[in-house]
């Protein structure tokens, strides 16, 4: 092994060629880096290197009050910030034993599912872009802008919403939602159909995605997969169904499950989940409309939040999988330790295993289909 100072890698004396992909590479999404050893075009071993977006969120959380931490959760999974916000707020509410009013829970459900749709739309669009199909991205992003409009009218930000407060939500659903949702539902479905028409039966697309990075269910569980990547492997696990929170046990929705855990299955599961999310929003909205106008949106929460001593873990199903917060409180107004369990962290550590034996070009397809969000990965 000779150390190469320019590439910062050990040169292999064998015939294997070491290739450094990233951190700045058109397909590595900004901050990811993979050091792959290849035999010709085939990857013999690949090791991901992370930490290029490590911003010290957990350390910062120990120095912030409980409310001040909410904006930081926005900046973790920035594709669906609302889901991260709600995950954190629910963890603190569990720590304090607060019961959130039902109407606030419905508002949260609706906004979270909208965020899920926006997240999956970005994923499918980017997956297309990385595999050479630019058009679906442009069609999907038009619908995503409509969803962002609702977020913006809700509390004034498109991406980093700082949604909700500990104990509930700080505003009712905006008028924009009431006026837009009936048409938006159809346009989301139409955009999905268009994407479907462009991709799902396209032979070029199928050749690049079917059977690429197939993964078995046992392996996936051993590596700690959650969310769509696990469901693509054929395990029917969804925290919305298995550990129901809010009103998810009252909604009627399917959990799509794949067969082989390849890129195509991950893509299909996301497409189907968007449909299911639309259904969930419809049901939640019907329940919401039955609530009285002045139903409470906030639980009674002290101004300065000081949870009693103790620790607890709470996780919810975000678009990427299980996002959990483990919080230890020492009775002061700042958490003693916050540990974030990001979903794509566990998925990405199996990356070397996933791409082993595939072509270099398949790493790009694999990475896009896993939906690795660097802000959540490195925290």
């Amino acid at each position: 092994m000779d150390y190469d100072p320019v590439c910062q890698i050990d040169r292999d004396p064998d015939d294997l060629v070491t290739i450094n992909i990233g951190p700045t590479h058109p397909a590595m999404h900004g901050t990811l880096r993979v050091i792959a050893k290849t035999d010709g075009e085939t990857i013999v071993s690949a090791e991901p290197e992370i930490g290029y977006l490590h911003r010290g969120v957990e350390k910062l959380g120990e120095n912030f009050t409980y409310h001040q931490f909410i904006p930081l959760t926005d900046r973790m999974n920035y594709c669906s910030a609302i889901a991260s916000n709600v995950a954190y707020e629910m963890a603190v509410e569990k720590l304090m034993g607060i019961k959130v009013p039902p109407k606030a829970q419905l508002v949260r459900t609706i906004m979270m599912e909208l965020a899920r749709i926006a997240d999956h739309q970005v994923l499918v669009g980017i997956l297309g872009v990385d595999l050479g199909a630019l058009t679906p991205f442009f069609y999907l992003i038009i619908q995503r802008e409509e969803i962002y409009d609702i977020f913006e009218w809700y509390n004034g930000a498109r991406l980093t919403n700082t949604f909700g407060r500990i104990g509930g939500v700080n505003a009712d659903l905006p008028d924009k939602f009431h006026e837009k949702w009936p048409t938006l539902r159809d346009t989301i479905r139409k955009a999905n159909e268009e994407t479907d028409a462009l991709l799902t039966k396209n032979r070029i697309w199928l050749d690049r995605s079917v059977g690429v990075n197939a993964f078995s269910a046992e392996d996936a569980l051993n590596w700690g997969f959650t969310g769509p990547c696990l469901r693509a492997c054929g395990v029917k696990r969804d925290l919305r169904r298995d550990e129901p929170y809010m009103f998810y046990d009252q909604f009627d929705f399917k959990i799509p499950v794949g067969k082989h855990g390849d890129v195509f299955d991950r893509y299909m599961i996301r497409m189907e989940e968007m449909e299911e999310s639309v259904k969930i929003i419809d049901q939640a909205y019907a329940m919401y409309q039955e609530m009285p106008e002045d139903a409470p949106l906030m639980a009674k929460v002290p101004k300065i939040i000081k949870p009693p001593e103790g620790e607890c873990y709470h996780a919810i199903e975000t678009p990427n999988g299980e996002l959990g917060f483990w919080i230890r409180s020492d009775g002061s107004d700042k958490p003693y330790r916050i540990k974030i369990r990001p979903p794509c962290y566990m998925v990405y550590q199996a990356f070397g295993e996933l791409v082993k034996g595939d072509m270099i070009s398949d790493t790009i397809a694999c990475l896009s289909s896993l939906n690795i969000i660097a802000g959540e990965l490195d925290r």
């Binding site: 490590h54 569980l221 590596w223 700690g224 550990e243 607890c312 873990y313 230890r328 540990k339 550590q349």
Partner: protein, 186 residues
């Protein structure tokens, strides 16, 4: 049978302490037995904790010091002095490693904790049981300095390789000590 009883029956004497808070069950086990404890929890038929959710370290540098101060504020006089003397004993070890387990069949969760003193930071690796522990162990090494015995690739994960401190320790300042990264070809 409740989860608590099942865990106690499965582990027997290995359970040092049990905590329950807001429905989250946590057990403390001896440091040396962690691999066997987790294997038993995984393979026990009544428990079946077969999914590792997360693994991380905690630094309790001033946690117990803060705790002791509290009665002082409330009451004054001799009474609390007596209480404090009763409390006295060897302070608990500074670090903790927490394992979050999940049973997929029954949807139960369990926190397993071990205490790690500052002068002996070696912990057995559990990558032999779950591959999912690979990066979390590296991160715990990076952030706190635990040395996982038997881990195949114990390098820094989030910080760069030349970084020397362990940033999530409580005595490390938030804004750092002015470290900069320089590459050899700069």
């Amino acid at each position: 049978m409740s989860l608590k009883e099942r865990v106690q029956r499965c582990l027997g004497d290995d359970v040092i302490a049990i905590t329950e808070y807001r429905g989250d069950l946590g057990i403390e086990v001896p440091k040396g037995n962690i691999v066997s404890v987790l294997t038993r929890l995984k393979e026990d038929e009544t428990l079946g904790f077969d999914f590792l959710t997360d693994l991380f370290g905690v630094d309790n540098l001033d946690y117990y010091a803060k705790k002791k101060k509290k009665p002082k504020k409330k009451a004054a006089g001799e009474e609390e002095l007596v209480e404090e003397e009763e409390d006295k004993g060897p302070p608990p070890p500074r670090f903790e490693v927490v394992y979050l387990l999940q049973a997929l069949k029954t949807n139960e969760r369990l926190q397993v904790k071990i205490r790690v003193p500052e002068d002996d930071m070696e912990v057995d690796t559990i990558t032999t049981i779950w591959k999912a522990a690979d990066w979390p162990e590296r991160e715990a090494f990076d952030m706190f300095g635990f040395k996982f015995r038997g881990h195949h690739n114990l390098r820094r994960l989030l910080m760069w390789d030349e970084f020397e401190d362990h940033p999530l320790r409580k005595d490390y300042p938030l804004e750092g000590k002015g470290e900069e990264r320089h590459l050899s070809y700069d």
